[in-house]
């Protein structure tokens, strides 16, 4: 009870505070991540592109106005205004503090300034140029001033050519002509007017040349490009930052979620601890039992798996024996055929043996297949145990004989049968016989005995050998998977546990007879077998 009251404040206060903090940080990050409007950049980029186009248009319009006798500046004004609006718009855009923007802005405002000057000067120049031929005719030279008149004509001519060229020589010639004419005495009013326009053309033209060349040299496009580059860099950074904010947000959300789950789990667990404290001993025992059962279950599953492996390993051996029988028999049969006198009966017997032996192989293979299935759904049939023994012996008799180990078989007259899987039972018997063989092979006076006892409701099949298991730990672990006493590489340690599994599946039992003077394995099987519904 008091544990409960202790736990509550401890859990609630810090988690609540953490939760609030995280929520605030999340909100902040959400705001930050959204603050970066990335669409703005695409907009600025396209605005900059438009600006470059406008700028090129403006420049070409200026050049055209420079050539025309009656230029109209409305289009120039429009282009210049669009440029100014665009620059203002870009200024409002992202990265408004960059040095690139300052350069960009100053270069464009210089351009607008130059264009204003250009418009003024170009108009004045054009007027004087347009007027000059008339001004020349209005200039009245006295008869004695013929050379002056010629010079004035030459000046007019050169001024027109100069207007469309950039010749420095021409300019000097023009200036010296103007100078000469201006210094001439007693000029008429008309001539003075002519000279005024000539002077104005010379100075305005030079001025316009300077304006236009500065205008053309202005690196507007370059600054638009470098501004764009700066924006791109900034854009990338912002995108990264924005991504970082989003990731941070995501992470925080995760942390928040995890923290919530953690808090819940802790609350849960504390409640469970409390509950467990109140649990009865019985519940604990039950739990423990369950754990053990689970363990066994797991063990059986793994032993089944492993026994498959062992069977696969042993299969070569098990199939090899009948194969040897088959090949020996067929050799004998061939010899027989080669003889003059053909013993029909004997040949038939040999052929039959081949057939039976191959049958056996087929059975082993089928058994292998069946074993991989759960024992309970294997088709159980009536199994003649004396036949099982006979079949098994056929597999290992040779081996015992070869090593001079006597193999005793004690089987009752009447045939005992059980319900089950013949091959699986043979498997178990073979396994026990192999174990016995391995156990006694190196010891003198060794023997092995197989005995079948029919006790009515159950049968007992025992496999005994001359050896003796003395080590109590070995006896204890005998049926545990992977336990083996055989030398490394000879056995997997699964044989006995698998065998036990098989016999258990047949509702029987496989055990070691501790009372027997020698090693004695006892298989007990019910004669009525498994009741299947």
């Amino acid at each position: 009870m008091n544990l409960n009251t202790l736990l509550k404040p401890k859990l609630k206060v810090p988690h609540f505070a953490w939760g609030m903090l995280l929520l605030i940080v999340c909100a902040g990050l959400l705001y930050k991540a959204h603050l970066r409007d990335l669409g703005e950049y695409t907009h600025t980029a396209s605005t900059l592109k438009t600006l470059k186009e406008l700028d090129a248009v403006l420049t070409s319009q200026v050049l055209e106005a420079r050539l025309r006798s009656h230029p109209n500046y409305d289009s120039i004004v429009q282009a210049a205004e669009s440029i100014q609006d665009t620059v203002t718009e870009i200024k409002k855009g992202p990265a408004n503090e960059t040095p690139e923007l300052k350069l960009f802005e100053s270069v464009f405002s210089r351009k607008i300034e130059l264009i204003e000057e250009f418009k003024s000067n170009n108009s004045v120049l054009k007027n004087s140029l347009n007027y000059l031929p008339s001004a020349l005719s209005d200039a009245d030279f006295r008869p004695g001033q013929l050379s002056l008149r010629n010079r004035a004509e030459t000046l007019t001519h050169k001024l027109f050519i100069y207007n469309a060229s950039a010749s420095q020589d021409l300019k000097e010639q023009i200036l010296s002509l103007i100078n000469f004419l201006s210094n001439s005495r007693s000029l008429s009013k008309g001539t003075e007017g002519f000279l005024k326009h000539a002077k104005l053309i010379a100075t305005q033209k030079t001025l316009l040349d300077e304006l236009v060349s500065e205008l053309l040299a202005l690196p507007t496009s370059h600054h638009a490009d470098s501004l764009f580059a700066a924006y791109s860099t900034q854009h990338r950074k912002d995108q990264e930052r924005s991504n970082a904010f989003s990731s941070a947000l995501f992470l925080l959300a995760l942390v928040f979620g995890a923290a919530t789950i953690f808090a819940l789990v802790r609350l849960r667990r504390s409640a469970e601890t409390l509950r467990r404290l109140n649990e009865s001993l019985e519940t604990r025992v039950q739990e423990r039992t369950q754990t053990i059962a689970d363990q066994q279950q797991r063990m059986f599953a793994s032993s089944k798996l492993a026994s498959l492996g062992e069977m696969a390993a042993g299969i070569a051996h098990e199939i090899n024996n009948p194969l040897t029988v088959i090949s020996a028999t067929s050799e004998e049969l061939q010899d027989l055929v080669a003889e003059q006198q053909f013993d029909h009966a004997y040949a038939g017997k040999l052929a039959h043996r081949i057939e039976a032996t191959s049958d056996r192989i087929a059975k082993i293979v089928r058994g292998l297949r069946d074993f991989s299935r759960d024992g309970s759904d294997a088709p159980f049939a009536s199994v003649d145990l004396s036949k099982v023994i006979q079949n098994t012996l056929a597999l290992c008799n040779e081996r015992f004989k070869k090593h001079g180990i006597p193999l005793r078989i004690i089987v009752p007259e009447s045939a005992s049968s059980i319900q089950g899987d013949e091959i699986q039972i043979e498997q178990v018997l073979l396994n026990l016989l192999n174990n016995a063989f391995d156990a006694v092979i190196d010891s003198p006076n060794s023997w092995v005995e197989v005995k079948l006892i029919d006790a009515g409701s159950v049968i007992q099949l025992t496999v005994s050998d001359s050896g003796r298991i003395t080590d109590p730990t070995v006896l204890q672990k005998l049926f545990i998977p992977f336990f083996t006493t055989k030398e490394v590489g000879k056995g997997t340690g699964l044989g006995l546990s698998v065998s036990k599994g098989i016999i258990t599946a047949h509702r029987g039992d496989l055990a070691v007879d501790l009372q027997a003077p020698n090693t004695r394995f006892v298989i007990t099987l019910p004669t009525r077998g498994v009741v299947t519904e």
């Binding site: 006798s69 204003e116 054009k126 347009n130 031929p133 027109f160 005024k196």
Partner: protein, 315 residues
């Protein structure tokens, strides 16, 4: 020899297209304006409530019966205070590339603060104006209707400027001529136009507004200020904005549309008739002495530039 030079002149100076398109375009009526804003703006433009003592309105100086100007040489504002500049017309002012004689305002929106706050004009403040308008139920209702809000600096500005944009004066005789009605102008007017172009007035007074698209020094071909009364600050023109020596006496070339209605002329109202103005222009802007005939013909042409006066009075 003369012929050769004229040929040379043509080679370099004739329009690149070779098509003799006119350098002036006719006025078009703006169609993209919200009529409720225009009428609210018209009301404000005519209302003395915008001035400090409710004595004068924009229309006091920009009188629609006087071509959108005031007929005075120098504007007279609140308390009869004299300004140092002549009142230009508000007609077609939206077509000007900049506002004011010295072009210090880039837009009409920017321009508006000038007369509203000018000590010699309306001498008002936004706070006063907004307060007064908010106390007027009729204005409250109209602003609510047009802008769905109370009067504030933004929507007041927007209403007045929208109205100003509507002040186009289409269908002058000259515009009809430009549109192909050759006989909308009589022979003398057409000859006046030809001389206007030939003399080079068109080099400065050009574009749709026949002016208003560049700055020019007043007195390119001779100092008009040297032999005159003492200079005022207004005489310095664009210099007041840029502080550049070359911008002294430089002004926005004024529009010549409706020029017949807006005497007296020039930034200081120093020319009382069109003829005077044309004569001065010839001398100081072109370096030419125009004959009486030239002046007469050109002035006739200038009088053909009067278009339809827009609807002016709200009440």
């Amino acid at each position: 020899m003369r012929l050769a030079m004229i040929l040379v002149a043509h080679l370099f100076l004739s329009p690149a297209t070779g098509i003799t398109s006119e350098p002036i375009e006719p006025i078009v009526i703006p169609t993209d304006l919200n009529p409720t804003k225009v009428s609210l703006g018209r009301r404000l433009f005519n209302d003395p409530i915008l001035s400090a003592n409710n004595s004068i309105s924009c229309a006091s100086c920009h009188d629609f019966k006087r071509g959108g100007a005031d007929g005075k040489s120098l504007a007279i504002g609140i308390h009869g205070r004299k300004n140092e500049l002549n009142t230009p017309s508000v007609f077609n002012s939206a077509l000007n590339f900049k506002q004011f004689w010295d072009g210090r305002a880039e837009s009409l929106e920017e321009q508006l603060d000038g007369p509203l706050h000018g000590e010699n004009e309306m001498a008002s403040t936004w706070v006063q104006i907004i307060q007064k308008l908010q106390q007027d139920p009729a204005y409250l209702a109209e602003f609510k209707k047009v802008y769905s809000s109370q009067p504030n600096e933004n929507n007041i500005r927007n209403a007045i400027v929208t109205f100003e944009r509507s002040l186009a004066t289409p269908d002058s005789k000259f515009d009809r001529f430009l549109r192909g009605e050759t006989h909308a102008l009589d022979g003398q007017e057409r000859e006046g136009y030809r001389r206007f172009k030939d003399y080079g007035c068109i080099a400065c007074h050009q574009g749709r507004n026949i002016g208003g698209n560049m700055f020019q020094v007043f007195g390119v071909m001779g100092n008009i200020f040297s032999d005159r009364k003492k200079l005022t600050r207004g005489d310095l023109g664009r210099f007041n904005v840029t502080q550049k020596e070359s911008d002294k006496h430089r002004f926005k070339v004024p529009s010549l549309r409706n020029v017949a209605l807006t005497a007296p002329y020039f930034h200081d109202g120093s020319a009382s008739t069109i003829e005077d103005a044309v004569k001065i222009m010839g001398k100081y802007q072109l370096g030419r002495d125009l004959s009486a005939k030239d002046i007469e013909l050109i002035s006739r042409f200038l009088r053909s530039l009067t278009g339809k006066t827009p609807e002016g009075n709200a009440r």
